[in-house]
Symmetry: C2
Subunit: 250 residues, 2 copies
Amino acid sequence: MRRREFLAAPAALAAAPAVKALTFDVFGTVVDWRGSIIREGASFNKSRGLEVDWARLADRWRAGYGPAMNRVRTGELGWKKIDELHRMILDSLLDEFGLGKLDEAARRHLNFVWHRLDPWPDAVAGLARLKTKYTIAPLSNGNLSLLTNMAKRAGLPWDCILSAELARHYKPDPEAYLTACQLLDLPPGEVMMVAAHPNDLHAARRVGMRTGYVPRPLEFGPGVKRDAAPAGEFDVTARDFPALATALGC
Amino acid sequence: MRRREFLAAPAALAAAPAVKALTFDVFGTVVDWRGSIIREGASFNKSRGLEVDWARLADRWRAGYGPAMNRVRTGELGWKKIDELHRMILDSLLDEFGLGKLDEAARRHLNFVWHRLDPWPDAVAGLARLKTKYTIAPLSNGNLSLLTNMAKRAGLPWDCILSAELARHYKPDPEAYLTACQLLDLPPGEVMMVAAHPNDLHAARRVGMRTGYVPRPLEFGPGVKRDAAPAGEFDVTARDFPALATALGC
């Protein structure tokens, strides 16, 4: 089944304008946020003699993110970097996890775990191949400094850093995608959004971008079901970034 | 004299907050725009049997850039990417240089020579050293896609691409510098502007940034005098990027 999708995709793309740049969702698509927080949390527990359930904290932290963005979308809050939203959510969770006494420096450090997320094992090698033929950039709700620090630590070989912050509109608002294309100086039809999340790709397609789907079935932990996209829904479907590179002729 | 400046600089910086990021002027500071245009122009002449004076064309093209930005600053024109300003200036010069019959594709290709500029010989190696300790980014009036294409071709190892385009204010307007610091999530005192042009550094200093001066005496061609900054005027003065890396502890 997957093989059929691979073969179908380049033919479908052949009729369209050549894709020149790829923009990537980051949290879940490029990096394993949940596994990274659990790993760093285990060290944190050990160094402080704690027994915090970091898997549950990571899930609660991530679950707070959509509602927090909506408080900005509705105008209840002014524009916020994701660092600020992550911090608001974290502060609201610490008591529940027995971490209410963490001082400011420790909270700040913990909040910046989102800058220290590890890539999925295939990501860096796949991006390096894709970079030989395409301009590659993140297009994440993560703020520019978060994405820059993450790339520097993890060795993500981006050509430039794009972020919803540059539009001051979070994905999936259309402004986030259109601003990225405008900054790349490319029509949306020459830019492919790559993501593990169908809703991100649907929004990209609505503004005219091409779509590349790379499911990450472990994003929410082993055995947790995700919204799966029907076969052939997107321009390209690939199991990981090296497979995406192959499908896109790299 | 230069040696004294080298030794004085780290001591002066020691009392200030630690610099975490370096932002670089690009045209003239990182890349040799004039030499690059002359080299590409020589190939152009040869392939078309022409005798265009590319040194003069480059100088005229560059001389049109300040006045063109001022037409945007004063509101006579709406916001323009530098690619658009370069094209307006180029179109106004072609007749004078016997190139008035160039078609649209050739004009577009020629205009994008600014994406194909070569770095000064020391630049890539110096940036690679600086990157080991600092976040490094261009902060140029060049638009984001220009700087991204240039970096990809020339191997400039930027951590992210910053541009006056992200502020929609050209340097030396304060907004260009402040937006860059805000996107890096750093106070201006923790960011050093590096440039070959004293006026760029003066503007950066006015918003609280640190300053690194790297004169490029050949920018306007051999034997052409530049505004030289007095010794000790900036936080660091270095003859090239490797010397800057040494001065900044890399």
